[in-house]
Amino acid sequence: MPAPLAPLTLEIVVLLLGIVLLGFESFSKGGDRGWMARWSVAILSVVFAWSFFTTGDTGVDPSHAFYCADPLALFFKRIALLTTIIVMVISLEFRPVLEKFIPGIQPGSGTGEFFALPVFTCAGLMFMASAVDFLLIFVALELVTISFYVLVAYMRRQNASLEAGVKYLILGALSTGFLVYGITWIFGLTGETNLARITQVLPSLLAEGGRLHGSESALLFALMLLLIALGFKVAAAPLQFWVPDVYQGAPTPVTAFLSVGSKAAGFIVLARVLQTVVFLPSIAPKVLSVLGLLAVLTLLYGNLAALPQDNLKRMLAYSSIGHAGYLLVAFASIDPAAGNLYRTQTAIGFYLFGYLLMTLLSFLVMTVVSRHSRGDDIVHFNGLSKRSPFLAFGMLIAMLSLAGIPFTAGFYGKLLVFSTAIARQNFLLVSVGIITVAAGFYFYLKVVSAMYWKEPTEDQPVTASGLTKFTVAALCTAIFYFGIFPQSLLSMLPSDKAAPVAVSPAPHK
């Protein structure tokens, strides 16, 4: 058995892949850049497999590290890799639309960067999963956000894409401002940027006679600024106003990437930041009640505003807000007495993995269908079961899982989230959750009814490449597999039974 590899090699390989792709791209002849996406899929798959053979030990004391590789970090790295792989498959299907809206001198020219930038984004997401120091958190987050600014505005001959890019840039810069200001406050209060050391010094600072004694409001203020910034990243109400326009205007693969990758990374950073303060008895109730309020608002806004939507891309944007709400329920139900966040971490890890499968599946099918029908309104899906029974079945599975039908990954994810809330006897959150799940059934099944019970407006069959068909089949299988055997996924996530391998700042040391 070979010696396990250092975890940082994963990011290094991904970064090298991006640089090599760009290098080859500048010397390649001809317009077709599809090989870049296929190479990325192949190499990122190897890195994904590789991630199971890395050690969790970085060899550095966590309180002096920027980077950790606990099971949670490795799990979210895999989410980032898998998301990028599937986004590449979606991009391949999206090429004809992309070529129409960029000023290339021949078909296919100018698409190279569209396949290279997601690789860098993936590296940024992987760094975010591992970041345990505010400096690395900030730099990795900016790497992700800046590459998204470019990708969102990529189709610059289409006004919607440009408008989405500008909106995302301005609001993203504002949220970055809040993040930096929050980090500055934390640094000013504690003199530390490392999360583990912040956890260590906070109790003594807040204690009687400590430097912060009597002024915990400053700490709460800093946390509020951080919550605003992270709430923007994960699209929590009332910081979600950018989502529908940006998601609808951006190129479809980028929308898929934003709604899964950006959200997952935002949530893991939120989990790490909360871990520093949530066990302080004077801070925890206030933070948790704010999170509960955010969860309720996000759930109601996302799911109720999705009801009247006619455009599938916009509907999925609202649905992604709704799913952020379910994830926030798990955060609002943290038990401050437990001494660890394993329960919440497990719930959000499983939920986000299921969310990845079903959301990317629906975006993949949508890209293929909208290319043939020239539009992504729900009307364009009318009678899809007659034009392509296979793709219609894929979309059916995605919608059922998003709605939360038993035996799908989406159902078990919701079950885990609600079980955290029930364990804390947070019945308000549970009842709001159940109401919004019912609303979800309505708008997800609207798509299903269009596909199976409406007459098609066009009779030309919808065709997809072999790689796409394979991906659809694999995603459908995974949705059912992890819905029926969730244990196979849960064993990778931190739990009470198996202590995490490396870093998990213990507050009571």
């Binding site: 000023p103 020219s109 290279a116 690395l136 203020f221």
Partner: protein, 165 residues
Amino acid sequence: MSPLLFWIFAALMLVFGIGVIINRNPVASALSLVASFLCLAALFVGLNAYFIAVIQVLVYAGAVMVLFLFIIMLLDLREEQRRRFNLLAVAGGALVSLGFVAELVLVLRKFTLGQKPFAPIAQVDDVRQIGMTLFSTHNLPLQVTGVLILVATIGVVVLSKRDLK
């Protein structure tokens, strides 16, 4: 730095900062930003942070703002001067920022940490220390920043080139 100088430069910085937003003429706005950066550099000098002060002048007030001005003068921005203030938006913005300031004041009134003086730092070589920190203990974030700048450069080229090959 004497507190008087601090207050003068801080007030000037805020005045010019407001000038950036209020001026309808983009060139005047950009020049206000330069002035605001210069005042900020003066504040850094007051904190004995000479290196940051110099960088602030060289990079922001110098290089970045010259580029800004060039771009503004290359584009035709007269449209912007004719635009009227949207009263509702102004009122909304004022309300939000006043709320934020009010919260800040409430927090700062209870906050006593700022009045305790820091222990003076032993005389050190500014540039040398920053270099040591960047390239030894803080190497990983520095490398990631390198990637970030690479991505930003690629993005600028992709989004601004007229014909893509």
